[in-house]
């Protein structure tokens, strides 16, 4: 783990700010959360673009060396920054290679929840309540800090310098570097980020890059890692049965424990699930769970046709889906995400645009 974690909170409503700050500091036992507020600026400085001013302010105490910025989507009432939005803060943060995590506190704007699921290069947190928001923000900051802490040592070894190798080493799974590399194929956004890095803050940019890559791609698209629904589907266990602690215990060794690991929304290493199942000479997770836990465990069900076992994960509906009732291999899927599919219904709904 790197030094002390520092979170800078951008929130323009006083009442919300104090509550969130308190929540963040409660979860942040190994760091501090401070609020972005008044800064000393000359009248000339205040004439500059918001993005330039923010970059300058965030480079100085007390905001410098921030681990992550936590930013409300709507900052229009900010003092000295009327009409500010999270996009402007994000632009300044990008220049400084500081990770950013946005949230929208007001009740469930659909477009925001959609962005939380799909957008890249920033962490979007969907809102449930202040306590959960603070918990998830701290978890994200801790993930970036964990990457920062490990990265300096890993970067010394020139042989490990490909991003996939670096990330595989950071995750303690050097044997998966080929698979991690398959998550970068075709991603021009990230390529641009790598090519834009300069020598002076190279490591800092790598921290940001690797963190977003892990969050946006490896943890999002089932393949190398699987979320709860995808794990259950792959193991051929009904989603509800896979929620049972005695079933989970069978596969506990495969739990992902790296940066951004969330005990409330866990992930598993898919290869380790394979080894647990095949090591017991079983053909799938259902056979193993029935052997170890109960013969009443149910098989997974395809969301399109419950008479079929699933095996795969529909990235749009978040449901288990069978091979026959889904489509895959889209150019915008990371190539390593071989358990990620789109169910036929969703494919028909969105039509040929998904194939672009």
């Amino acid at each position: 783990m790197a030094g002390k974690i520092k979170i800078v909170l951008f929130e323009d409503t006083e009442q919300t700010r104090s509550g969130l700050l308190e929540g963040l500091n409660e979860h942040l036992k190994d760091g501090e959360a401070i609020s972005f507020g008044q800064s000393e600026e000359s009248p000339e400085d205040m004439e500059r673009m918001y993005q330039d001013r923010l970059e300058s302010i965030l480079s100085k105490a007390p905001y410098d060396e921030a681990t992550m910025l936590v930013v409300d989507r709507d900052l229009s009432k900010s003092q000295n920054f009327g009409g500010l939005s999270d996009d402007t803060v994000a632009a300044a943060a990008k220049r400084l290679a500081i990770p950013i995590c946005s949230y929208a506190r007001q009740q469930a704007p659909d477009d925001y929840n959609w962005r939380a699921r799909w957008e890249e290069g920033r962490i979007f947190l969907s809102f449930e309540n202040d306590e959960e928001l603070a918990r998830k923000a701290v978890l994200a900051a801790r993930g970036f800090a964990e990457i920062a802490g490990g990265l300096r040592g890993v970067m010394k070894d020139r042989a490990r310098r490909s991003p996939a190798r670096v990330l595989a080493t950071l995750l303690g799974k050097p044997e998966y570097s080929d698979k991690i590399a398959l998550y970068s194929v075709g991603d021009q956004t990230r390529l641009a980020e790598i090519l834009a890095k300069d020598e002076t803050d190279r490591v800092k940019r790598m921290e940001c890059f690797l963190g977003y890559w892990l969050w946006d791609s490896l943890l999002r698209y089932p393949g190398l890692l699987v979320n709860e629904v995808a794990a259950a589907s792959y193991l051929n266990i009904a989603t509800v049965d896979f929620e049972k602690s005695e079933v989970r215990a069978v596969f506990a060794q495969a739990l992902y424990g790296g940066p951004f690991a969330d005990s409330k929304r866990p992930h598993w290493w898919r290869g380790m699930l394979d080894d647990i199942v095949s090591g017991e000479n079983c053909s799938d997770g259902l056979e193993l769970a029935r052997k170890k836990v109960s013969s009443m465990i149910n098989p997974s069900q395809c969301c399109e046709d419950p008479s079929k076992p699933a095996g795969y994960y529909c990235i749009i509906s978040g449901q288990p889906v069978s091979l026959e009732n889904s489509k895959g291999g889209f150019s915008w899927f990371p190539r390593g995400a071989d358990l990620t599919r789109i169910s036929k219904t969703k494919f028909d709904e969105y039509g040929p645009w998904l194939g672009v």
Binding site: D178, R270, D274, V277, S278, C282, S283, D284, G285, L339
Partner: protein
Amino acid sequence: MSGKEVRLPSGVRSAYENFLEAFRDAVEVAGGQITFPDVPLPSCFTLSGNGMSVAFSRCLYVKHLPCRKLSGSKRLDVVVKAVEEITRDSWSLTKSTVYLNYFVVAKDSALLAQSLHFDFVEGGQPGHPFFHLQLTDEPIPQDDLEKTGFNLHLELPDQPNECWVTTRLPTPDMTLASVLYCLVADHFANFFGPFAERVQSIQEQLPQPSFEALKESLQDSSLHFKSSHWFAHLREPTQHPG
């Protein structure tokens, strides 16, 4: 039980996956195109042999194999279909048949220029060399071709050559990986070095063919016609004095 998907040790699945990805990259870097059916690799492994074995089946279609002999208006494509069987107790290869169909493509038509398959069965087959290549005139089934994205009008040779059907040439131990390895060497020679280096470490992780009779024969004597080794499974073991 047969036909049901089965989970393999991650090392075995990864070996196939990594090899196929390395092959894909070699083809694409060399300017070729490669397509696979919309079946992710985990679904290519199914239970067989009363649950004692795993069957592996995979097709792939490579377009634009460099070929100097063809005029500019034509191109050479190849479709590869592998059917292998792996035993679950030792994760070794007990069966491998790799079909290759070479097509000369002009506009929307594909003429089957060459069909062949490499074959191996643990324990050998009567009358067949242990590992062998058989020249045939049979196309890979249309359904398999179409699933790879092959959407050309298939033309078969006018005069099937009946002689091909019986020609079985002894070969080294050829499996899907060996066949793809040779394809890169043969058609994408400028890119073979990096490919060979990349897949070197994968070789040992892939299920190895089980061919004890041939190994014993080779170890036993190297002083007679070499081809006899490829029929070692059909002969009585040599009795050693003492």
